[in-house]
């Protein structure tokens, strides 16, 4: 399984480290300005071509940034979402809960749960994501 890990535009060293310690190889990590350097695969900070990494991967482990998540779900990718709670607000928990309740993605609410969630991925079939597309321009 080809795995890609992404933290978006903000750092999330705890998640990178937790995935790094799963004992796997060949993972690709996007670490932003993080200082933890993973050893179980290649890494980079940022890219303009993140869609290519999405396309090539079977599983994407991602922080709970809505931008990353919606792009991935729209591409019908399998994702494991980990909210970053080291920020000063906890809004990443909201989308994590939404995804969990609707069964759109795998969710680990704590980095310590990543291992357990990862090794039980086959036990759950996800629901296909759908949304009501934006129609705000009707009101302009």
């Amino acid at each position: 399984m080809k795995i890609f890990v992404t933290v978006g535009t903000t750092t999330f060293d705890e998640m990178i480290e937790a995935v790094d310690k799963l004992g796997l190889n060949g993972i690709t990590f996007q670490i932003a300005k993080g200082i933890y350097i993973p050893k179980s695969g290649e890494y980079f900070t940022f890219t303009d071509e993140i869609e290519q990494y999405y396309e090539q991967s079977d599983l994407i482990i991602t922080h709970a940034g809505a931008g990353s998540i919606y792009k991935l779900l729209e591409k019908r990718k399998k994702i494991l979402v980990v909210p970053n709670v080291s920020r000063t607000d906890s809004h990443q928990l909201q989308i994590a809960k939404y995804l969990d309740v609707n069964n759109y993605a795998f969710v680990s609410y704590h980095v310590n749960d990543i291992e357990k969630t990862f090794f039980s991925l086959d036990n759950k079939i996800l629901t296909k994501y759908n949304k009501t597309p934006f129609f705000g321009c009707d009101f302009l």
């Binding site: 535009t9 940034g65 809505a66 000063t88 909201q94 934006f134 705000g136 321009c137 302009l140």
Partner: protein
């Protein structure tokens, strides 16, 4: 002065706010006409909206409003934003957009206040990551933006009565 007029102003910050701004602009142009002109006011952590637009007239950069990792930096940014007020006032007076639209974050607040004082329509779009609680910016914008749009229907009961659910970008 008339030839300076630009149709709308998009205000945004980095990360998900920028992606939402990009989608907003794309939606507005494809729905209202590709010859609509616009300019951006964005914070220093963001970049210009990507896309092949020849109607993307100007791009202004201001300090971010809040530092998500530090309350001290937030205070410093509040002072910086206050100092930028004359510039923002000048920009809005010169380019006179028909509306100012923003998916946040807080860098939009000073511009919305100035815009409102100038009688410009101000449209705030609450973030697509908000389902059960509004953002700080959203809570403030509830009180004074001309229009309050939200993307997740779960927020209906905590928005003001004239807030509009607009689907998801």
């Amino acid at each position: 002065m008339k030839k300076n007029k630009v149709d709308f102003c998009i205000v945004y910050g980095s990360g998900g706010h920028q992606e939402q701004a990009r989608r907003l602009v794309r939606n507005i142009l494809s729905s209202k006409g590709l010859n609509m002109t616009f300019f951006s006011i964005r914070d220093t952590e963001s970049t210009k909206i990507k896309g092949d637009y020849n109607n993307y007239k100007y791009d202004f950069v201001i300090p971010p409003f809040r530092d998500k990792y530090s309350k001290i930096s937030t205070f410093k940014n509040l002072i910086l934003n206050f100092l930028f007020t004359p510039k923002m006032l000048f920009i809005l007076l010169v380019y006179r957009p028909s509306f100012i639209i923003s998916p946040g974050p807080g860098c939009a607040i000073p511009i919305f206040i100035i815009g409102k004082l100038l009688g410009i329509r101000t449209i705030y779009v609450e973030s697509w990551s908000r389902f059960y609680k509004l953002s700080w910016t959203g809570k403030l914008m509830l009180k004074f933006s001309s229009d309050f749009w939200y993307q997740n229907i779960d927020l209906k009961d905590i928005c003001r009565p004239d807030a509009i659910w607009v689907g998801r970008l």
